[in-house]
């Protein structure tokens, strides 16, 4: 019996590792996810801290004479194949048709697109988790809430989003200003129309967890439902919620850009990546770079977020982790 307490010096005692360190170790092994995380971090930093270094105003239109002289500058790399192109080091990505600096507009657009993505994702996660937990934990609410989820899944979302944006834009713009109104409208619409998958996954997990011994033990000690949910159930459904969070950012960014692209998004003088793309489409034969940069930004952001989601799914799955 004493042998058991005597430790083998080669096999020395390691303190139990934090679960999140294990998750991080597994996440690091997924190369795509790691690159995705670095790229996403780089984009977020570039978009939010970049304006501190590149201190151009995205909305600044020079006085008329200067504007005519400076507008439609091509990006600096155009010189490589077209020696006569109008380029200037003052505007590395060129200027648009009102001589506004395109690099500054890309950064400003990215701020809005990413903020919309994060805010809409948070809203849809809150709604999805709330409905999923309520439906899974309280048997009486299960039927009605799941019918509601099915109904939402049967709605044609893009047409309804377009209609809702058009109908309520004026009203909210009057109350909160043109930019704030559209921001609130788009975030809430995207949030309200994308919670269903999260709710279904959370409900399934809660249904299984509810019958586990630790929950029964907690209930037998007289723990109120609210605390069982908050202390025992929610931490255990965190991993599916985190995975749907990453996918939610991707969906929200794409939906916002799609709305802006169809002309139902932010007002014209308020750049987002989708809006920049939409404004550039008419003259893409002359200035293809103005289409390609915002499009690339959207695609790379969404791609990196999707890879992060893929890696997180593997890292949070205890059956894969540690192998």
């Amino acid at each position: 019996m004493t042998d058991a307490t005597q430790l083998d010096p080669a096999n020395e005692y390691k303190p139990p590792r934090n679960q999140w360190l294990d998750v991080w170790d597994q996440f690091k092994k997924h190369r795509g996810a790691l690159i995705g995380a670095i790229v996403f971090l780089f984009i977020v930093l570039g978009v939010f801290l970049g304006p501190l270094i590149w201190a151009h105003d995205a909305q600044f239109v020079p006085p008329v004479v200067d504007m005519i002289k400076l507008r439609d500058t091509r990006p600096i790399y155009t010189v490589l194949w077209e020696s006569g192109a109008k380029v200037s080091w003052a505007h590395p990505l060129g200027t648009d048709n009102l001589a506004r600096d395109y690099l500054a507009r890309m950064m400003a657009g990215g701020q809005v697109s990413i903020t919309v993505g994060l805010a809409a994702m948070t809203l849809s996660l809150l709604l999805g988790t709330l409905i999923g937990v309520l439906a899974g934990y309280f048997k009486r609410l299960d039927g009605p809430l799941m019918r509601l989820t099915d109904l939402f899944l049967a709605l044609p979302l893009l047409p309804l989003l377009l209609v809702a944006v058009l109908l309520f834009r004026e009203l909210l713009a009057g109350a909160l200003g043109p930019e704030g109104g559209v921001f609130v409208l788009i975030v809430s619409l995207v949030g309200i129309t994308s919670w269903m998958q999260t709710a279904r996954i959370v409900r399934g997990d809660v249904l299984a967890l509810k019958e586990r011994e630790f929950v029964i033990a907690a209930r037998s000690m007289g723990t109120p439902s609210r605390r069982i949910v908050l202390r025992h159930i929610l931490p255990n459904v965190l991993s599916p919620i985190m995975v749907s969070a990453t996918l939610g950012i991707a969906t929200a960014i794409i939906t916002e850009s799609a709305l802006s692209f169809l002309g139902f998004g932010f007002p014209p003088d308020f750049p987002t990546w989708g809006r920049l793309l939409f404004d550039a489409v008419d003259r893409m034969t002359l200035y293809p770079e103005r289409v390609i940069w915002p499009g690339l930004a959207i695609s790379i952001t969404v791609l990196s977020v999707n890879y992060i989601g893929d890696g997180l799914r593997d890292a949070l799955d205890p059956r894969i982790r540690g192998r």
Partner: protein, 354 residues
Amino acid sequence: MLNYTIRRLIIAVPTLLFIALTIFLLLELAPGDPVANQPLTIPPEVRELMRKALGLGEPMHIRFWKWLVQFFWIEPQVFIDWLTTTSSLAPILPDTDFFIACGNNTAAECDPRILSWQFRSPVMDIVLQRIPQTLWVVGTAYLVAIVIAIPVGVYSAYRQYSWFDNAGTFVTMVGFSVPPFFSGVLVIVIFSVQLNWFPSIYDTMHEVNNWDSFMFQIKQMTMPVMVLALQITSQISRFMRASMLDNLNLDYVRTARAKGMTENVVILAHVLRNSMIPVVTVIALGIPQIFGGAIITEQVFKVNGIGEMLIRAIEANDIPTVQTLTFIFAVLIVIFNLVADILYGILDPRIRYD
């Protein structure tokens, strides 16, 4: 199975009614007056008459009921009449005459149809004109996507973690992430502006009557089909790969190999057939989403299908058209959900719904 189908069909009715009500209320409760952009010089009593002419004179619940009657009772009659008298099936079918058109000199008992405020003509007639374009482009894209996705998914799963699988996974991830409004514009810049291979605008008036015009049709369909197919392929091949991977390690595969069957028979006859079960339902579920997703692609390539019609109607504040089109999309979603569930039950004998 029959019981289940009937039960699901009965449940579909309140679902559709609820969706119709949601769409109606959304359009109804929104601020904004349909005659607001008429000149201010119009006297108020004339304005009131205009509202009545648009069908806005009555209370909300009566208008909702009227719309339901028009959509579910009158429009099908028109459709049956069209099918038996003017369509290409007309010679086989007996002539019918259910629908009584409203005109200046008809009796009081006529059937009012859903009229578009933009064109003052029945919405369903316009939908019927627009559907062939959408079906040609979207349908072709869907078929192309299925034909590409299934072999790709099967082979990536069979050679898991090979270079083919890694490349395939990356391409599907890209296809997943690049939104159609960017991939569409990108292929226009590359193939239409730089290389000048394909036209960037889809010509819907084009008629195919000889080899040259057929080649032109192929050419103008290439880019929209490419963009849509990339998106659909990436979804389906991911499912195909995952489903194949689930099946490849099961006992029956080992048994089949132990019996001395060739690898082709094991993969194509045994594993593929079992893996197709979830994929078939995914394909069925994707069909209505394609109509929704095609809104953007139609906009990029200026295809005047139903997606483009919806955008125009929303911009013109044409509420009957928006309501009808959105509801048609909802009906498609509900129908294909049902189809997917029933297919699953038929294909997989392990599933018992009762």
